[in-house]
Symmetry: C2
Subunit: 215 residues, 2 copies
DNA sequence: GCTGACATGTAACCCGTTACATGATTCC
DNA sequence: GGAATCATGTAACGGGTTACATGTCAGC
């Protein structure tokens, strides 16, 4: 149900074609949503039929024709209504964290390898978002653009960047944690007595497991 | 594709019925996945047909019959194979952040109201996860349970708690930011000259927009 | 000659959600 | 008497992904 408002919202900022909307979903808006062209085009047609947006076909030379959409008053009304409504909480689907949860089934070395690979992916994404922030900041300064629009976009971008920084930090801490248990990973710790419970507890406290309780 | 491995992974920890799997998805596993009973039951039947798990019907008195599933070697093999594979990055769908991105379309007071309401939701969830952490930690200490399983479960739980703490912190910072621009929210700032660009810039720097660039 | 950007779509399929269906027991 | 818990499922619908289809131009 939110793709609709993702499109309406974007068209409240500027007029755009389906192709341009997709690019925005892949860049800036990737922090909170993602979509495919094969979903965007039918949705645009649906919104036009519903009378919330209006499209104009523009003939180009050397390039295919394009259809530039514009939001109308009915669309803007529905958008504002949606903006005041309570949203569902995000439905998280994080296959990597699911993997981590079950990683006691593989060796400590494999766990560390997986954590390090994933950390790299996150780092890449962080750099991408930081580049977007740098570019958008530069354009704001050039135009001395002051508006609530700039404020909210910056807030969302910061949220995205913070999230990446935190994910990377968690990867580093967790790699360290697993490394501390490397030698005893596959053993039944209680039977072999290679480590006592006090040491085990101390490691997890240092990791911050209890600090997270805020006590 | 990951629901399959969510179920296999859970059955690698202990035997369970569909109903019990659902409860685990709602509690601990809610940090990285969520699912409905109407999806879990057919999936369990599918996995049994594929020969990865085995179910035994148990007749109960005073309660309906239940079917307890157990993972077999073929299932454990597929799980380990999946654990070593590279996962897709999480496909984020966060309707609230989408709202925030478009909130220049509503008044500053409405924005602050929305941010405060959402903050409350996140706080509720934080308390829930902290309770899970407290309970699980208590049970670990009681049994002096030391294992890689405990380590990985703790790591994932900490990730979930950290995420909530960061989301709440971001809400607080953003509320403060919007409050700073409250008086000029609906105005065209450049035209009215109610605020100069240096002040505008200073506010965003204080918010941490540039700190996030790591420069 | 190949890849990638530009540009718009359809069709098949898979996954996920909501609603429906059933029925006993326990607690308020 | 009503709500919640235990327990398993089917059916309809809606949303999302992958594959297919088409064609030009620019740059390597």
């Amino acid at each position: 149900m939110s793709l609709k408002f993702g499109i309406l919202g974007l068209l409240s900022k500027w007029n755009a074609t389906g192709y341009e909307i997709k690019k925005e979903f892949d860049d800036y808006m990737s922090i909170f949503w993602h979509s495919h062209l094969s979903q965007i085009y039918p949705e645009l047609n649906k919104l036009e039929k519903e009378g919330l947006i209006e499209g104009k076909t523009i003939t180009q030379i050397g390039k295919p024709d394009k259809k530039v959409y514009e939001i109308n008053e009915a669309g803007a009304d529905q958008l504002r209504e949606w903006l005041l409504a309570k949203q569902d909480e995000p439905k998280i689907k994080d296959p990597f964290l699911m993997q981590v949860f079950f990683m006691d089934n593989i060796s400590a070395d494999d766990v560390i390898f997986q954590l390090k690979s994933y950390r790299k992916e996150r780092e890449k994404r962080l750099l991408k978002l930081q580049q977007i922030m740098r570019d958008s900041w530069e354009s704001i300064k050039e135009r001395e653009a002051m508006s609530s629009r700039v404020v909210m976009a910056t807030a969302v971008l910061k949220k995205g960047i913070d999230e990446e920084i935190n994910y990377i930090k968690w990867c580093d801490e967790t790699i360290e944690l697993v490394e501390a248990f490397k030698d005893v990973w596959d053993d039944d710790l209680q039977a072999t007595k290679k480590m006592d419970f006090a040491t085990f507890e101390e490691q997890l406290i240092q990791y911050g497991a209890l600090k997270a309780l805020g006590e």
